[in-house]
Amino acid sequence: MKGPFVRITTTIAAAAALGATAVPALALENEFHGMFRVRGIVSNLDDYRSAFFDATDSSGIAKPLKNPGTRSFIEQRARLLYTAKANDDLKLLTHFEIDSRWGDSSYAVGRNQGGAIGADSVNLETKNVYLDFNIPSTPLNVKVGIQPFVDSLKGVFVNADAAGALATARFASGEAAAGYFRFNDTLPAGSTTPGKATRDFFVVDGKYSLSKDTRIGASYYGVLDDRSAGFKNQIHTIGVNAATTVGPATIDGFLAYQTGEVGSSEQDLQAFSANVGTKVKAGIGTARANFLYISGDGNPAGGTRNDFQTIGSPGTENNFFAAETLLLLPHKTSLNTYRGIIWDLNNRSQGVIGGFIGYDANLTDKLFASANAGFAATAKNNGNKPAGSSGSQYLGTEISGEVGYKLFSNLTASVQGGYVFLGDYFKGTAVDDPGKDPEDPYTARIVLSYLF
């Protein structure tokens, strides 16, 4: 009995030892990160919606208004990011979101609610689910699935979550990417055949470092949209971008040209967008400035379209967060409330001319503040302007600021405030008091933000 017992014991010990050594190689690393932000808002524009300033709201009341009333509410958002990491070369990323406005509804089924007494709502949104892996013995990284994508034009064309595949080859001096996304695959009424009415998106993007301080890039984005019967939209966007550091200053920008065909009458597309921005370390903080141009069209029904096409529908899937404005353009920290004088950068085919300056100061290790100013105008006015609008293209000027305090390294409390002096574009356009000017938009927000 002794012999077999020893052999069995030895075998078990060997298996255990083998298992012990194998554990690190087989172990799946579970990584959780997330964000929680709550905002208390008092404003005559913010209203837990995502829309243009002069859009008609859910109650049928059109903006702009001379007496918009004061809205006061609290909204919150949590984001949970779970990564199942097999190893450094293979991981699955999932990203979820839960939004509510305090007191909105309970025991409900649907997104962006569940903040009323009782809570208990089915309100979990899935933002991203994608596989991220490196192909062995190559410089290639591949992301496949519903993933975030932002263009190399600071997001003015597209900054969205979308389903697709993106392959990126990384080299010592740069990277090159190619990808395909299916934005939409609508089944027309009565059809059960996928792939017949689609909006597809193609990406070719490259970046090259000329030196440690200077980088240049070029990109092509193609949109083929045949969701409408009888015609196909083709939007080809070619862009160049660059960034350089000179002493305390960083300068970056882009230039993009669009061509193609849009609309049922197959209008020729010729449109532009451009930006130049800078950040300069100065004193206890950083000064920044940005200029943005998005071309518009005075007559979108004409033979040629000159308004820069942006990705949207049903919402807006583009933005220019470098502006750092709270009301002229929506702010990057916006939650469900996502309002702006210019909500979508196509701006109803009128385009944008904007200039923005600001200063971010670190007053102490924990206390920070920022001040901003910006102006905006349409690049061209057209029939989409509000009824009664004068010929002015001037949309308005914003002054805004923020003061914040880091309670912990990952918990920040801040107060934001902004005011827009509406321009003559809106003069005499109040819909609740014809011929009168609408009230200037303002917002005051208390923000608590936790990141882990």
Partner: protein
């Protein structure tokens, strides 16, 4: 007699131990032996870094430069830093939709 000596010694040992424990509690000595993970959820061996801590650690390692890492390793660290910063942007900031 032996039994009494053993019991007396045991009582003395217990009394000394209790006294020492009480004194440690009062003075805060020997904190190195305290389980701060259990007490304060701090320094847990199996804890996951917060995303800010991850960025901080990556920057610290990158700053060590060529004296510690090969160029290839530095590229890997820089790539991980960019990816982590991108994740922070995705968590904190809005992108598309509602």
């Amino acid at each position: 007699m032996k039994k009494r000596i053993v019991m007396g010694t045991a009582a003395l040992v217990i009394a000394l131990a209790v006294g020492t424990y009480a004194e440690e509690q009062a003075t805060g000595r020997d904190t190195i032996d305290k389980d701060v993970c259990l007490l304060y959820s701090k320094d847990c061996a199996n804890q996951v870094d917060s995303i800010q801590k991850k960025v901080q650690k990556l920057r610290t390692e990158i700053d060590k430069g060529g004296k510690v890492y090969t160029p290839e390793e530095l590229r890997t660290l820089n790539q991980k830093l960019r990816e982590t910063e991108r994740l922070i942007d995705e968590l904190l900031y809005r992108n598309g939709g509602n």
